[in-house]
C-alpha cells in the first residue's frame, strides 16, 4: 500500500501545501500516516532527488543537501499528483496469493486436513486483527489518520478471513456432494487457472 510510488506522491501532496524542507517532509509524512509507516531521511532525499530530476519539484538551489534545503512543487508535479489521486490501483488481475495456493495444495494433499490448515491461518489473522484493534482502542479515537490506516489493515485482514470462511464452507459442502473434487490431483491444472490466466 505504501511502496516507493506512494512515498513519491505523498511528498508531492505535502509540497502542494507550500515549500518545505526534507526533514519537515519526513515528520509530516509520518504524522499523517498515523506514524505507522516510518521513513528514514535517506529515503526522503532519494525520492526528492528523483522528483527534481523528473521536473515534478524544484529546490531552492542551494548546493547543500542537508535538512535546510527547501523544495517546492512544480506545475507538472501538481498535474502528476491530481492524475495519481484519480487513478485506481491495478486490481483487475488476480494476484499470486500465497494463501490461496496453500489451500489449493492442502485440499489435494493426502493425509492433510484442509480445514485444519485453514483454521491455522484464520487464527493467525484474527490475532493480527486483535493487535490492530488494540492500537485503535488506545490511540486511534484521537487520531483520524491513524484510525483510517488501522481500518484499512483491519478490512484487508477481514477480507482474507472471509475468503477462508467461504473456502471452509465450500470445501465442506464439496466433500459431502462431490468427494472426487477434493481428492489428490492427477496432474491436471486446476480449471480456474486456465480460465482466468493467473498472473505469474
Amino acid at each position: 500500500m505504501c511502496g516507493s510510488v506512494s512515498v513519491r506522491h505523498a511528498l508531492l501532496a505535502l509540497l502542494s501545501e507550500g515549500p518545505k524542507y526534507g526533514l519537515q517532509l519526513r515528520e509530516e509524512f509520518e504524522a499523517r500516516t498515523g506514524e505507522v509507516w516510518p521513513l528514514n531521511v535517506g529515503q526522503v532525499y532519494t525520492t526528492l532527488q528523483r522528483l527534481e530530476r523528473d521536473g515534478l519539484v524544484e529546490s531552492d538551489g542551494s548546493a547543500d543537501e542537508g535538512p535546510q534545503k527547501g523544495f517546492r512543487i512544480t506545475g507538472a508535479g501538481a498535474d502528476e499528483l491530481a492524475t495519481w489521486l484519480r487513478t485506481p490501483p491495478d486490481l483487475s488481475a488476480p494476484p499470486r496469493d500465497e494463501l490461496v495456493i496453500k489451500v489449493l495444495v492442502a485440499m489435494r494433499l493426502p493425509g492433510t486436513d484442509v480445514h485444519e490448515v485453514i483454521q491455522a491461518h484464520r487464527r493467525y489473522l484474527v490475532e493480527l486483527m486483535q493487535q490492530w484493534t488494540r492500537i485503535k482502542e488506545d490511540e486511534a479515537s484521537y487520531d483520524v489518520s491513524l484510525a483510517l490506516v488501522v481500518d484499512a489493515e483491519l478490512f484487508r485482514l477481514d477480507s482474507v478471513i472471509r475468503w477462508l470462511d467461504s473456502a471452509d464452507g465450500r470445501l465442506k459442502r464439496a466433500a459431502a456432494d462431490q468427494p472426487d473434487q477434493i481428492q489428490p490431483a492427477t496432474g491436471a491444472l486446476p480449471r480456474f487457472r486456465r480460465r482466468v490466466g493467473v498472473r505469474r
Partner: protein
Amino acid sequence: MSMLELRDVSKIYGHGAAQVTALSEISLTVDAGAMVAVMGPSGSGKSTLLTIAGSLEDPTRGEVRIGGTSLGSMSRNDKARLRRRTVGYVFQDFNLLAGLTAAENVALPLELDGTPARTARAVSLETLEKLGLAERAARFPDELSGGERQRVAIARAVVGERRLLLADEPSGALDSVTGEEVMRLLHNACKQGVAAVVVTHDAQLASWADRVVFLRDGRLVDQTAPPRTPESLLTPGPRQ
C-alpha cells in the same frame, strides 16, 4: 476470579436417528474483566453455547458455573433470579420493548427484581448517562437510531450489579463505525470488571476480545494466543 465456567458441556437435541449434537464437551472459562469472542460458521453451536451460558437452557451433560455457583442444583426460580441480577443479554435486533422509553427499558430488569420504581429509574438514568444517552432517556425505541437502540440495550444489560454480559452479534445490524462504538462500550464495560462473551462470525468484532475461541460442529477447536503488544506492528520493516 472466573465469572463464567463451562466444564465439559454437551448439548444434544432429539433422540435416536433424529439426534443432533449441538455442543460437544465444551470447556471455557471467562474471568471477571475479560471479553471472550466465540467465532464459528452458522450451525457451529455459537448461539446454543450462549443460551446455556446464560442458563436459558440446560446442558445435556457437563456443568455451568456463574460467579462460582453451579447451576446444576439450582431451582428454576433461583436461575431466574440469577439471570435478573447477574446476567445481561445483548441481541443483534436490540429486543427493546417498543411501548417503554429508553429509561423504562433500562429500569425494567431492576423493577422485575423488586427494586422500587423510583430507585430503578435513578439507576437507569445514571447508566444511560454513562453511555452518553442521557438526552435520549425519554425517547421510545422507534425514535432512536440503530446505534442508540443498541446502546440502550447495552445499558439494560449492564444496569445494576450485572457481572456477566452475553452478546449475540451485537453490532450485526449496524454500520461499521456505529458497530465499533458498540464494541467500545462493551470493552469499557469489561474494563469496569464485567465478564463478556460475544458470539459472532465477524472477525472485526471478535478482534476487540481478549481471547477468541473457534467453534466447529459443536466443538471448541482452537483459540487465539494471549494478545501481543501492538508495538510489533509499528516497528519499521522493509517498507518504503
